[in-house]
């Protein structure tokens, strides 16, 4: 009988260890922390937004800008990883290519930065008073 685990056996052991690790963390915290619940504390954490209510909530548009820029560089990393694995074999040409690739993306970042898209401008809180959208005001500043 083969004493070594199969490939799936390895994965299974890894999975079990993961579960034990997370469960152990929660258990330790439960035992150590004081417990004084209130409604705010017991609600689910949703990045500062109301977790329960209408789905038609206005998000600040800047979330998207940040998210998009994040994704762009995220994807860049995805491309750079395989490049990096064979970097030695590729030689100088590939280095230039990667720099061009990164350069284009950095140009985009610079563009967004200079245009002020990365400035986090707080929306004016007194929404009901003004008929024209405060967001448009801020947009015009940004433009």
């Amino acid at each position: 009988m083969d004493q070594t685990l199969s490939e799936f056996g390895n994965v299974f052991v890894f999975f079990l260890l993961g579960v034990v690790f997370v469960a152990g963390g929660y258990l330790t915290a439960r035992m150590l922390r004081p417990s004084r619940p209130n409604p705010v504390k017991t609600s689910t954490y949703e990045c500062g937004e109301e977790a329960v209510g209408s789905a038609w909530v206005k998000f600040n548009i800047r979330f998207y800008v940040v998210a998009l820029i994040f994704i762009i560089f995220d994807v860049e990393v995805v491309f750079l990883f395989p490049w990096a694995t064979v970097f030695r074999q590729l030689g100088s040409f590939a280095l230039v290519e990667a720099l061009v690739f990164a350069g284009i993306l950095i140009l985009g970042l610079v563009y967004a930065w200079v245009k002020g898209d990365l400035d986090w401008v707080r929306p004016t809180p007194s929404v009901p008073k003004m008929p024209e959208m405060p967001a448009s005001k801020s947009t015009s500043q940004r433009d």
Binding site: Q89, F93, I104, Y111, K115
Partner: protein, 512 residues
């Protein structure tokens, strides 16, 4: 497990990529231009920024002609592992799209609405250039992935451009509709691509063709794939029943962009359609007894006939000139599809020639529409009343362009239709009725096109304001030149038709 390629393999890959770059110079140039424009936008300050950017774009695009012209000397062939081809057909469209981009810039420079509506014009020109790049790549792409990427580049640029008047509700609505519709169409097309890939395990259209010919296919899957791909192409060319976005988008988008979309984007769609259907879809000896036993003809014929009828008939009811031209562009897609149906050299030549003539007359017509709307602030038919006396040259020029769009001699539009119909008739009696429908619907188009000159010259203005509206010397000159060209090429069309014939050669085409 993933295995690392050996050093030699990687070196050979790199050498292939390096050699491919030599055939990719215009695209690289255009990409640099795109980035340069962004940098210029960031660097420039001051009042004349918009004008400088526009002229820079114009000059930059003009410069690309040099690099494109270099490519005539190069051997036709595949590059980048079959991703991309270089042939006369692609070069034709490179010229075409760069010129379209330049014309869009010219129209933008002429359009006063941009001064009022837009604070930041930098991205605009950059996006025009980006769209040119995308369309150039569409015309040259020979791989499903490349096709999809190029189309998306074009589409994304077009979404932004059509919504460029942010405060104009119609413009925003147009952009949103365009986005949703485009996303659906792209998704359908991608699904079709995936089915083809599933059948053949290839993405290169030439290899797909060979694979299908060699190993057969499941007709049902093939049909489904083709239909789904057709949805994507149909969306680009704006043919019935995939046209629905176009009237709303054309009406809402800034007029130069409307013109740009209606000419360049449509042409890109046709470039792709012709290449895909001629190469990827295998054909037998005679185009319609193809080995797949699938009746492509019916698909294209229905699209073509429906587009001609729908576009022309609905255009009759339009009150807005831009919307009217939008419907007319649907009809023109139908006429162009007639040329595709022919599926031979003459048909390709006719399509290319028609695209050239359509380029000239449609851009020119939109240009005049821009000039008029600069003065009147309106694009509705009623506001064209009495303009003939206030803007005589514009009125005359628009009349000439519209006559050309109808397809009456002695204009270039007439020759275009003539070539399409004669290409059809040369294929035999089967196509007579198609040509007949084409001619009859042209007659319908006469009615609504001529409504514009009717309003301009024969009806009194609603406001008794009789001051003449001079669009300026440069604009006048431009109109005159376009008008002369429209008629000139209607009389001496030999160079254009020769160019179209010369450019109808496609790499890897085994149709004949």
């Amino acid at each position: 497990m993933f295995e690392l390629p050996s050093g030699a393999e990687i070196q050979s890959i790199i050498s292939i990529l390096k050699s491919g770059l030599g055939f990719f110079i215009p695209e690289i140039y255009l990409s640099i231009l795109f980035m340069g424009l962004i940098i210029l936008d960031l660097a420039l300050k001051g009042r004349n920024k918009s004008g400088i950017l526009g002229w820079a774009t114009l000059i930059g695009l003009g410069g690309s002609f040099y690099f494109i012209a270099q490519q005539h000397a190069m051997q036709a062939g595949e590059h980048f592992f079959g991703m991309y081809v270089l042939d006369e057909y692609a070069i034709f469209f490179k010229y075409f799209f760069v010129a379209s981009g330049m014309f869009a810039v010219v129209a933008t420079l002429a359009d006063r609405k941009f001064d009022a509506e837009v604070k930041s014009i930098g991205e605009y020109y950059a996006l025009v250039v980006a769209m040119v790049i995308g369309m150039v790549m569409m015309a040259a792409a020979s791989d499903l992935l490349m096709i999809f990427l190029a189309m998306e580049l074009v589409s994304l640029s077009a979404y932004i451009l059509s919504g460029y008047f942010k405060r104009d509700a119609r413009s925003s609505e147009a952009a949103l509709k365009y986005l949703v519709y485009g996303a659906v169409s792209s998704g359908l097309m991608l699904y079709g691509f995936s089915l083809i890939y599933g059948m053949t395990a290839e993405t290169n259209i030439l290899k797909i063709s060979m694979e299908l010919a060699d190993h057969g296919y499941d007709p049902l899957v093939m049909i489904l794939a083709t239909l789904l791909i057709m949805a994507g192409f149909g969306y680009k060319i704006g043919a019935f029943p995939f046209h629905f976005w176009s009237p709303d988008v054309y009406e809402g988008a800034p007029t130069p962009i409307t013109a740009y979309l209606s000419v360049a984007s449509k042409a890109a769609g046709f470039a792709l359609l012709l290449r895909f259907f001629y190469i990827a879809v295998p054909h037998g000896v005679s185009p319609y007894e193809d080995i797949l036993g699938i009746d492509w003809l019916t698909l294209l014929v229905i699209m073509s006939v429906a587009s001609m009828i729908y576009g022309n008939v609905v255009a009759i009811w339009q009150k807005n000139v831009k919307r009217l031209l939008a419907y007319s562009s649907i009809a023109h897609a139908g006429y162009l599809l007639l040329g595709v149906i022919v599926m031979d050299e003459i048909g390709t030549q006719a399509v290319l020639f028609y695209l050239l003539s359509y380029f000239l007359m449609n851009y020119a017509a939109f240009y005049v529409v821009v000039l008029i709307s600069n003065r009147t602030g309106s694009e509705t038919l009623d506001d064209y009343r009495g303009l003939g006396s206030k803007m005589p040259l514009a009125g005359a020029a628009l009349t000439v362009f519209l006559i050309s769009l109808v397809g009456l001699p002695p204009t270039v539009g007439f020759i275009g239709k003539l070539m399409i119909f004669s290409a059809l008739l040369s294929k035999g009696a089967l196509y007579i009725w198609l040509a007949l429908i084409g001619v009859l619907t042209s007659v319908i188009s006469l009615y609504y096109y001529m409504l514009i000159p009717l309003n301009m010259f024969l009806r009194e203005s609603l406001e008794p304001n009789e001051k003449s509206l001079n669009p300026g010397f440069l604009a006048q000159l431009m109109m005159a030149v376009l008008m002369i060209l429209t008629i000139w090429f209607g009389l001496f069309f030999e160079p254009l038709s020769e160019f179209a014939r010369y450019s109808s050669a496609m790499f890897g085409l085994s149709l004949y």
